[in-house]
Amino acid sequence: MELNYVKSDATGEEMYYGKHSSGLGVYIIPKKDYSKTYAIFGTKYGSVDSKFVVPGEKELTDVPDGIAHYLEHKMFDQPDGSNVFDKFSKYGGNANAFTSFNMTAYLFSATANVEENLETLMDYVQSPYFTEESVQKEQGIIGQEIRMYDDNGNWKLFFNLLNCLYQKQPVKKEIAGTVESISHITADYLYKCYNTFYNLSNMSIVVVGNVDPTGIAKIIENGVKKNEPFDEEIKKVYPEEPKEIAKSYAEQNMSVASPLFMIGFKDTDTGYGGERLLKKWIEINILLRMLFGKSSALYKDLYEKGLINNTFSFEYTMQPSYGYSSVDGESRDPKAVYDAVIAEIEKTREKGLSKETFERIKKVIWGNYIRSLNDVEDYACTFLQMLFMDIDYFNFIDAYNSVTFEDLQKRFDEHFVKERSALSVVNPS
């Protein structure tokens, strides 16, 4: 496998990357003098992908909700009956995995025996072994994971908001599925999903740490078990999502101390990835800070009135197929916060955005980018998530530099629309 090399003058970061003939993307970011190395091996397959057409087949495959996450759990079982955690533990590696809406990833961090840990990672992710008995056994564990989230006010708040914003988009469904949906998962279903989405042409591996890139690339190359890339793309089938939101308000009672709120704005400028998507992400992040950040007039007003406290925060979440901004916190009066947010947006629409504030806040985005390169874990995870959206996080600076004040004004008008906003509230029971 041929490795390409890039270096960024702005950050001093270096990267080696290549594509293996199996289709596997390989990205190695050396971090001089670091103690820890972090490797993440991921597939572009998450909880939203439960309807798809396997390459070479004609019929649609429809699997139970929660299967991507279930599959992630079952990957830790080995054909010889052992648990893969044991192998990592022996080498002092700290292994884990996660499933999100759009990806599943297997990872480890280690301060010694990086080679052995990496070999283990390559090996087990390519060694599925499911039996009806082992699949059955997991129901109890995942059932308790689902239960744990059922008692989490912020989690429910978030999904209730997604159910306001989206009518059909499967992102509104819980990642782990439900106790009912997972009861239909079988070993056959798991193999079907595995054989589709864990084809190496749908996967990438990112290694960040104090490593020798050539040596690491060799281990990855030697670790490839099946070199049969798909000729065609895996067709993922998603329902058509209307621009309109499903509903503007949701509430639930739970055992929380004071009301929790989350306000969302549905993004309808979707359907693309790459630098264009990253640019949008930067624009909306700047706007969110300008409108709701700690130096904003709205923050000061709400804070001094006691309508928000230090838990107040905001975020923009992006994917090629969907996106939304969210503003959340604790408040004795969530509706008053929502009204103030909408009023601030209307006011800003009338009087316009401040160019001076834009220039200042834009600096924050750059600082946050530099900061995100510090921790091997955050860096590798962010890099892979972005990669799956066709974004080159290494060259963040290109998208960053292209953002202008005019772009921001357009984005503001297009994104912050009252009709596409919703409020989710969790009240104390």
Binding site: A10, K31, D33, Y34, S35, K36, N83, F85, S89, K90, Y91, G92, G93, N94, S109, A110, T111, A112, K137, E138, Q139, G140, I141, Q144, E145, R147, M148, D150, D151, N152, N154, N253, M254, S255, V256, A257, S258, G293, K294, S295, K300, Y303, E304, G306, N309, N310, T311, R360, I361, K363, V364, W366, G367, N368, I370, R371, L373, N374, V376, S429
Partner: protein
């Protein structure tokens, strides 16, 4: 580690970490955890954060930080054993990454000093807002059920001891705070507390030391030391406590006395014992309570370093209480009997070493490591602790496990279970 002594109370420590792209400053003001001031200490950092001579209000502080490429500034209260710590943390990208050659670390330090030594926000309306926020934080402890179960277990286990107090104080205590009272309290603690300042990253520490002295030279200090923590002692029979809440999953927290202080030569063996028993996917709790019996998603143990306490946490079906309880104790028995496989043993030693080594890549963890050593009265380097860890034997693990005794069993159950 040796620091630069600013005066009798203030120590400044520099940990160069230039491989990272940030520079972090942490200020730790140590106070003895006690009822008559715990709530004042819980409100104070949030009031200091509201304004200082350099930046008169929150919005100005935010703008100042935004201009420094989004440097961060946080304040909170921590509890380490019987030590209540008022904490301020700052982080900025290091000067060499400033696009226009700005002196970011120096500017952050300037804000830090103004916040600590020149606060201006002791006004009734601000105090009122921060009292409300402090009470929100106290109440919000119930939102995270797993953490709440541990807090409640500690309260019950240590009832009557200082350690039972929460770092966030009490609602009644917060109610009693006044602007004048808090200002007087501030003036008292700034001159009568041990204060540690840690700088990690890339900074000119001698210049910073001189800057700090410009502020402190004008103040008369009353010599103070870091509060000592008392080792937990059992009060007799095992205590069983159940609370009821509107929840669908039960949260079990079991508190154990370890009898081993952080300064004890046996402490390293205790960390390995904890790893064998319940800290990680190689541990007995994970492999038996979760993997073998499928009773839970998480079951783990952790140490309260300065108190000689170990907690075990698990999230379970209400009806599985007894099964989980029995298995958690049965697994402890296997450790006490030295029934530890070669794999469990090696994995645990490696896990502890891996954790120690990984501190070197994280400025906040590095500060916590150094601060933890200081509070415990030890002065080990990471390498020394790694070396000590590698020498722990199964016999050592058996010996420390033998001292471990169950003290309190706390269960957070559903409303229907009443």
């Amino acid at each position: 580690m040796d620091g630069l002594k600013i005066n009798s109370n203030i120590n400044l420590y520099y940990i160069p970490m230039t491989k990272l792209k940030t520079t972090t400053i942490g200020i730790y003001i140590h106070r003895e955890l006690k009822e008559d001031e715990v709530s004042k200490n819980a409100v104070l950092p949030y009031v200091l954060k509201r304004g200082c001579k350099l930046c008169p209000d929150s919005a100005k502080i935010a703008e100042y930080l935004e201009n420094l490429y989004g440097a961060s500034f946080g304040a909170s209260v921590l509890k380490r054993g019987d030590d209540q710590i008022i904490y301020f943390g700052f982080e900025t990208i290091s000067d060499k990454y400033a696009p226009n050659g700005e002196k970011l670390a120096g500017s952050v330090a300037k804000l830090m000093m103004s916040v600590i030594f020149e606060p201006t926000a002791f006004e009734d309306d601000i105090i009122g807002q921060e009292k409300k926020n402090a009470k929100d934080r106290i109440m919000a402890a119930m939102n995270d059920k797993r953490q709440y179960a541990t807090i409640r277990c500690a309260e019950e286990m240590c009832a009557g001891d200082r350690f039972a107090l929460r770092a966030l104080g009490t609602s009644e205590g917060v109610d009693a705070v006044t602007a004048d009272g808090l200002k007087a309290h501030y003036e008292n603690i700034i001159t009568s507390s041990a204060i540690d300042i840690y700088v990690c990253g890339d900074a000119d520490i001698n210049a910073l030391s001189e800057e700090i002295k410009k502020y402190t030279d004008k103040i008369v200090f009353e010599e103070a030391n870091i509060p000592k923590s008392k080792l937990f002692e059992s009060k007799g029979a095992v205590k069983n406590v159940t609370d009821h809440m509107d929840v669908v999953q039960g949260k079990l927290c079991m508190g154990f006395k370890t009898g081993i202080s952080a300064g004890s030569p046996d402490y390293t063996a205790l960390t390995v014992m904890n790893s064998v028993y319940g800290a990680g996917a190689h541990s007995k709790l994970f492999n038996n309570v979760r993997e073998k019996l499928s009773l839970c998603y998480y079951a783990s143990s952790n140490l309260v370093k300065d108190k000689g306490i170990m907690f075990v946490n698990a999230g379970i079906e209400f009806k599985n209480f007894q099964k989980a309880y029995d298995e958690i104790l049965a697994q402890l028995e296997t450790v006490k009997n030295g029934e530890i496989s070669e794999l469990e043993f090696t994995s645990s030693i490696n896990a502890v070493i891996n954790e120690l080594e990984s501190y070197r890549d994280d400025q906040h963890l590095m500060q916590m490591f150094c601060l933890g050593q200081k509070i415990a009265g030890t002065n080990y380097s990471i390498d020394e602790l790694k070396e000590k860890t590698s020498k722990v034997t199964i016999e050592d693990i058996k010996n420390v496990a033998a001292k471990t005794e169950l003290d309190t069993v706390y269960f957070l159950a559903g409303k229907e279970e009443e």
